[in-house]
Every structure is written in structure tokens, then in C-alpha cells.
Symmetry: C2
Subunit: 291 residues, 2 copies
Amino acid sequence: MTTHSFSSKRLTIIGVGLIGGSLARALRRVNACGEIVGCGRDEAHLKRAVELGVIDRYEVDPAVAVSGADVVVLAVPLRAMATVLSQIAPGLAADVVITDVGSAKGCVVEAVRSVLAERFCDFVPGHPIAGTEKSGVEASFAELFDNRSVILTPVEETDSNKCARIRTMWEAAGANVSEMAALHHDEVLAATSHLPHLLAFSLVNTLASLDERKEIFDYAAGGFRDFTRIASSDPVMWRDICMENRDALLEVLAHFNNGLKQLEEAVHDNDGEAVLNVFTRAKVTRDRFCG
Amino acid sequence: MTTHSFSSKRLTIIGVGLIGGSLARALRRVNACGEIVGCGRDEAHLKRAVELGVIDRYEVDPAVAVSGADVVVLAVPLRAMATVLSQIAPGLAADVVITDVGSAKGCVVEAVRSVLAERFCDFVPGHPIAGTEKSGVEASFAELFDNRSVILTPVEETDSNKCARIRTMWEAAGANVSEMAALHHDEVLAATSHLPHLLAFSLVNTLASLDERKEIFDYAAGGFRDFTRIASSDPVMWRDICMENRDALLEVLAHFNNGLKQLEEAVHDNDGEAVLNVFTRAKVTRDRFCG
């Protein structure tokens, strides 16, 4: 483990779930924080996080939780972001840097701009491209971000020193950090993450409505399990992502529907060559990029 | 390893790939065969199978390969089945039982009936619900069928003793064997296997056509890799499956399209409750059946 320039006297995580809990564990691993304070709506859950050694202590009042913190991480569902921001605003220290881990960034930038107003510059929008289909602090682990990508989407007003600080935080957690524009992030993630989740949820929901559902799932093999794994993800979190990144999601879904329609027609018309072309191009592409 | 009643003096496998090779390895594990003979179109591939100890020897002429065999397993793509059957027909022994591993069964039953004619009763249609996205004998392994399902779809004419023999063969290979009607099998597998493959191939093909494809795949995380793993499967094999199980595939695809259309409308209409209902039902269903 290399030495990182990141250190925090008090780091507060709002939402100590899979992502928030794993970040806390990863930063502990390199002794980057004097103290890690947790906050959330469920006190039993926060107690469990203390027992597991993920956080040092917790507060149930968000404004108290961020008091004296030099770093605040918002790890809550996207649609809870604005409410949480307004709750923490009164307690924020002057030198604080605030960041988030939301899977869509355009909506977060808008929400933070309107809630934080003149302190908007203290906020660094971020998104670690990591996770599992599991939820909650029990599922968190220190290695979640090792060699994974974190995308920061600073805007013109963002304090560049604070952005650099969040970059070092994620590097200390093991991640590779890059930057891009929020709306571009949202297009890329709609394609690579949000659409696959929508399709997986939709497929399982449709199969669950068929008369043969019991047999269908009884005979599901490894391929089906892998394909539908993401349909075991947290429904509220993913509802928020799909609604908050609606435009980019609907756009890439339209592309998908066009492609699927063409493939369906090829199958219907018994055009094996066209079907083989699609399958071959897909295999070559996936083997190259994910092989 | 329990003792199984299956034994074969000479078992011939036409198509020594992932499935054929794994079956050979699984049967060797329990010393079920006096000799395992391989056959296929690529002699270098067959030599490799001998080197790996998967088969004892090979023949390039299918009729010679099945000569003296008491069990013949056809592990070739669905659309090669009729040709291979007509090639082996002259060499079949009187007491032979022939089976296949094709992923669709209605088409196989039809093809075999027309090619084998009065010897149709010697054929037991079968499908091991197991596999990986990899292909070829190098990817084969003895444990592939352990505790996995094998579905046999005998028809009225099928010799019941021969069907029982193929059941014990798969049990010796570690699998759990059940029986169902061929067309019912095809409906269930269209839902649980063929449609997911179609969707995965289609998604990767569509994303590969987008301008941002490089970035899309660069930022693909574990969820995307799992979701698209089956798009690395053998294109010819899957072209054959989709074309040969066309009716059942198009029917379940129509259900899928309806469900996706409703979900798309809910996202478009900002109906978060409807989206959450779909996601929740999918998660509950998957956790129950695949958890």
C-alpha cells in the first residue's frame, strides 16, 4: 500500500451502507482519518456499523454529525440528496469539503447548487464505479474500490483544491480517479449501468408474471443467475437512479429497442446470417473489452 | 461419489467441445466407459482432446467413429444435427442408444425422426442445463454437470430402456435428471436461457455501435460484466438455438417487450411508484429463486 497524501481529522459519512461503509473501511485500512462519524435514519443500523468497526461513532442528527468534520460524504439514494443537504447545511464547518457517491451526476449538481447556494463551491460531485447487488453495512468491505474507477464531475464553480482533496481521498481508498462533465458521465453510465439494471429488473419481473414461473426459475442455470444478478439490487436506489437520469436512460433505451427490434425481425424472418452478425459482433466486442 | 449403474463399453462423442468434453471427463471420473471415442470436423482439435486425456482416440469419419459404440452423444450445434445424424446412420450398431445435448428439443425431435426413420426409437433427446460462456475442449471440466439439471424429452416412440440408460449416464456424470415434453422444455428454456442470451448479445451489439463505445466499456463495472457474460458465448451455437426455437423465443420476447414498454412509460411519465413496484417485485423474485 503506497502512502497517500490524504488525511482527515474528522470524516462524516451520511448513509453507512455498502458504499459508505466500504469507503470507511478502505480509509481505515490506510489510517487516513482521525475519526469517522456515521449518520443515517436507522439507529440500529448505525449501532451495527460501530460494532463492526466501520465507523467510530454515530449521530442521528445530520447537522450534529457534520459538526467539525473536514470531509463529508453523502452516500444516500439520489432522491434523498437535497433533503440531507438542507439538514447538514447548518452544521457545516468553514473548511469542509462535501462530496457524494451518487450514480447520476447532473441531478446532483442541480440539487446541490440550489440547496447550498454560495457554498456550492465546497461540493465535489463524485461517483465510484463499484458496487455489488448487496446492500447495507454488513455487505461493505475495504477492497471494494481497489483498482476501480471513480469519476469526479466538478463544475466551473467547484473549488479546485477541494476537488484535488477528494481525488486523493479516493486514491487512498484504492481507486483510479478521472474527471468528466456531469452530463457526459450520465450518458456513459446510462449505457453501461443504468440500462442493464432496467433490463434485468424488467426481465425478472416479466418472467415472474408467467404461468411457468416456478419451472422457469427452477431450471435457471448459471447464465441466468449472472444475467439477473443486478436485479437483486436495492429497488429504491435504482428507482432514484432511473428517474434522476431519465433523459440519458430513455435515449440509450431507444437505441437498445431499435437494435432489439431489428434482431427480432431477423429471427422472425429466419435470417440466420443477420442474427449471426449481431451475435459475432457482440462476442468480439465483449471479449475485447471485458475479456 | 456413489456407484452408478451406468457403464458403456464404447461411448462416442460427436463434437468434443465444452459440453461433449465435460461429459467425457465426468464419465471418466467414475470409470464408466471402456473407451471414449471422439469425432469432429477439426482434427487438430481432436488431437488436443486426446492430449488432454478427454478422449481415448478419435475418428474423423462419423460413421467409423460410431462403429461398435453402444452410446453415441451428439454435442454439435443444433443446425448440424441432421447432417451429423445422416453421416453416422450407416455405422450405428444394433444395440446403440443415441442422445444429444441440444438446447432446443422440438427441432431435434423433428430432425431425428426424419433422418433416423425406423431407428428413431433409439434416440433419447436430452439437454444438460449447464455451460459457461466459454467454448471448446480446453474449457471442459469434469464438474460441469455436478448437481445441475438435465432434461430428457422422450416421445411416445422412444425406447424406455434406452431412455433409462441415458438417465443413468447423466446421473453418473453428476447431474439430476428430469423429464418433460419437448415443446414445454422449449418454452421454459426460451424464457430462462434463450431470451437472456438474445438480450445480452443485442445490448452489447447496440453499445458497440455508439460513438462513446470506448468510454462505455472502459467504465463498465462488475454488474455489466456479469450481465453481458453470456454475450461472449459461441455465436454459431446461439444463432442455431434462436432460429431453431424461434416460436417460443419470439413469444417470450413479446412478453418481455410489453413489460419493458410499460416500464419505459413509467420512467417517461415520472411514475416512480410504478418503477419501484417493478424493481421490488423483481428483486423479491430473484432473491427467492436464485438467492
